[in-house]
């Protein structure tokens, strides 16, 4: 078991308008992990990240970062962390190269030109390095922010939706680079809406919803233990479940996905699942389906199921 880089303890945040964005969040990020922080919009992900970045003040709770208390040893913690906030912002007075040297300086380091050039190269900004940031496209600006978060070689990099609005090809290359950074020993914590990519890349995951952590474990464990399988049945292309149907099939958490009726299967023991029971229940209610099959839940299914369960 690797020790955590970051452990968040009972963190709460209530904004001045009374909105409780975090209601006692606790989670720990293992050293060297590639950690996905997932949650629907408004779950509180950015609030948590902004508290780490010191742009939002916490209401209560604590964060331990590499053995340092984040709120009493702020400067040390800031120096060893790089954050890409969700909002794209840029300084209109400077070029990307100047911005990167400046960020180095603010972190008390002599600008390492070799490293800066490598970042510009890898984040595909090299040919724009001497343009005014005003002339950069949205995607370029976001990549510049990623470079900014890496330029002082932090031990923890936190990225709040770094790939929002970035096209598929570029996203792949960006992830590839993040993977390399991670392989060289930097812990990465990120939020994203691309769950498939998170499943492929990240080795740890936490899901938060309305200010609470509803799952937090290694990706493997979540996919093995929390992910179940489900039975899908095709009847008609467009139909909706009546409330009475939902009621009758409630033990299978029924839902319509892409025109298919999906019923969650539970394991009774390692050999046997509730497949037969689920199939029979559906057949009794709707008749024999046109087609049917069993699917293993992926991260997205788990995510949707867990965050939906919270609503009920």
């Amino acid at each position: 078991m690797t020790s955590p880089v970051l452990s968040v303890n009972q963190l709460c945040k209530a904004y001045s308008n009374g909105k409780e964005a975090l209601k006692g969040v606790s989670l720990s990020v293992p050293e060297g992990s590639f950690f996905a922080l997932l949650g629907p919009n408004g779950a509180g992900k950015s609030t948590l990240i902004n508290i780490m970045a010191d742009t939002v003040l916490p209401t209560s709770g604590s964060i331990d970062f590499l053995g340092h208390d984040m709120f009493s040893e702020r400067l040390w913690c800031k120096g060893n962390m790089g954050v890409v906030p969700q909002e794209v912002a840029f300084d209109p007075f400077f070029t990307p190269r100047e911005v990167l040297s400046m960020v180095c300086g603010l972190y008390g380091q002599k600008p390492d030109m070799k490293w800066i050039n490598e970042l510009l190269e890898r984040l595909e900004l090299a040919e724009h390095a001497n343009k005014n940031t005003r002339q950069l496209s949205g995607g370029m600006r976001r990549r510049l922010l990623v470079a900014q978060a890496l330029v002082h070689r932090p031990r923890l990099v936190v990225l709040d939706e770094p790939t929002a609005g970035v096209d598929v090809e570029l996203r792949k290359r960006l992830w590839e680079y993040m993977r390399e950074i991670n392989a060289s020993g930097t812990t990465i914590l990120l939020t994203t809406h691309y769950l498939e990519e998170a499943e492929e890349l990240c080795d740890h995951v936490a899901i938060i919803d309305r200010g609470n952590v509803i799952a937090s474990s290694s990706m493997k464990k979540l996919l093995h233990e929390v992910a179940g399988s489900y039975l899908w049945l095709r009847y008609r292309d467009d139909w909706e479940l009546a409330a009475t149907d939902v009621e009758a099939l409630s033990e299978f958490n029924p839902r319509i996905d892409d025109g298919l009726l999906c019923l969650t299967l539970n394991r009774i023991d390692l050999q046997q699942s509730t497949f037969h029971h689920a199939y029979e229940s559906a057949r009794l209610r709707f008749g024999p389906p046109l087609d049917a099959g069993v699917c293993q839940e992926d991260l997205e299914d788990v995510f949707l199921r867990l965050t939906r369960e919270q609503i009920i």
Binding site: A53, T55, L57, V83, D91, Y107
Partner: protein, 253 residues
């Protein structure tokens, strides 16, 4: 102590105005020169009552100081408000700099801009007028303290404001009247007694009067006594800025 960080921020704040030096240095210096020309011809060779100087000579140091004060204010306030509006201030909040280091970097850059503008203004004038310097030390102390005070006010004003509108309210309705009515264009001897008393409560009055004393050796108050007032005021401004930055006043949710 993150010296390199503080230095970097100072350089950033300096570059910001040097990059647009027409707007930040040449324009204010020109404005001051225009005032001077206008008053030169409007007032003729008139003497300032109660002082043994002509109006033109009297006006020069006052205008230099007023320009310094306004530019020190503009440097910090514009930086903070642009940062807030464009959301780049979060990069400062994220940087490992203590509140004191931040405030120091901002204020030194503001003082530098103020000194540069005043120097340009005075250098342009030297071929045409006979500038006397009575006491260089007084000029420096008043100039620097004044710039610190106004740089600090700019920092506070910028933190308080939510957008460019509220920022320009602060500069047009508070800062401009205070600097205009602080004895740049007149000696307070010329005022009715009530307004003379009021002037003594305007901190800018001491700044301009003391600064002018450094050039002309005459003024409305004792410049050596006023140093205490002015230095105390500068210190209080710095401490207020430090405290407000520390708690993230109107910067952090």
């Amino acid at each position: 102590m993150n010296l390199r960080g503080t230095w970097t921020l100072f350089k950033r704040e300096t570059h910001r105005f040097l990059k647009v030096n027409m707007q930040t240095i040449a324009a204010p210096a020109l404005t001051a020169i225009l005032y001077l020309i206008v008053f030169r011809y409007a007032m003729g060779d008139r003497q300032v009552p109660g002082m043994n100087v002509d109006y033109f000579t009297f006006l020069i140091p006052g205008l230099a100081m007023m320009t310094m004060l306004q530019n020190a204010f503009a440097n910090t306030s514009s930086s903070i408000i642009i940062g807030k509006v464009m959301n780049v201030h979060i990069y400062l909040l994220m940087a490992p700099l203590s509140a004191m280091e931040m405030v120091m970097a901002f204020l030194t850059a503001a003082v530098l801009r103020a000194v540069i503008v005043a120097t340009v203004f005075l250098l342009v004038l030297t071929p045409f007028v006979d500038l006397s310097i009575h006491h260089f030390g007084l000029i420096m102390v008043y100039g620097v303290c004044g710039s610190i005070i106004m740089g600090g006010m700019g920092l506070i004003g910028g933190m308080w404001s939510e957008n460019f509108d509220s920022m320009s309210m602060v500069s047009n309705f508070i800062i401009l009247p205070l600097t205009f009515l602080s004895g740049v264009f007149y000696s307070i001897e010329q005022l009715p007694p009530f307004w003379q008393t009021v002037s003594h409560f305007n901190p800018f009055f001491y700044l301009i009067d003391g600064f002018r004393h450094g050039f002309l050796g005459v003024g409305d108050s004792d410049p050596w006594l006023s140093i205490g007032i002015v230095a105390g005021f500068a210190l209080a401004t710095v401490l207020t800025c430090w405290y407000l930055w520390r708690i993230g006043w109107r910067l952090k949710e």
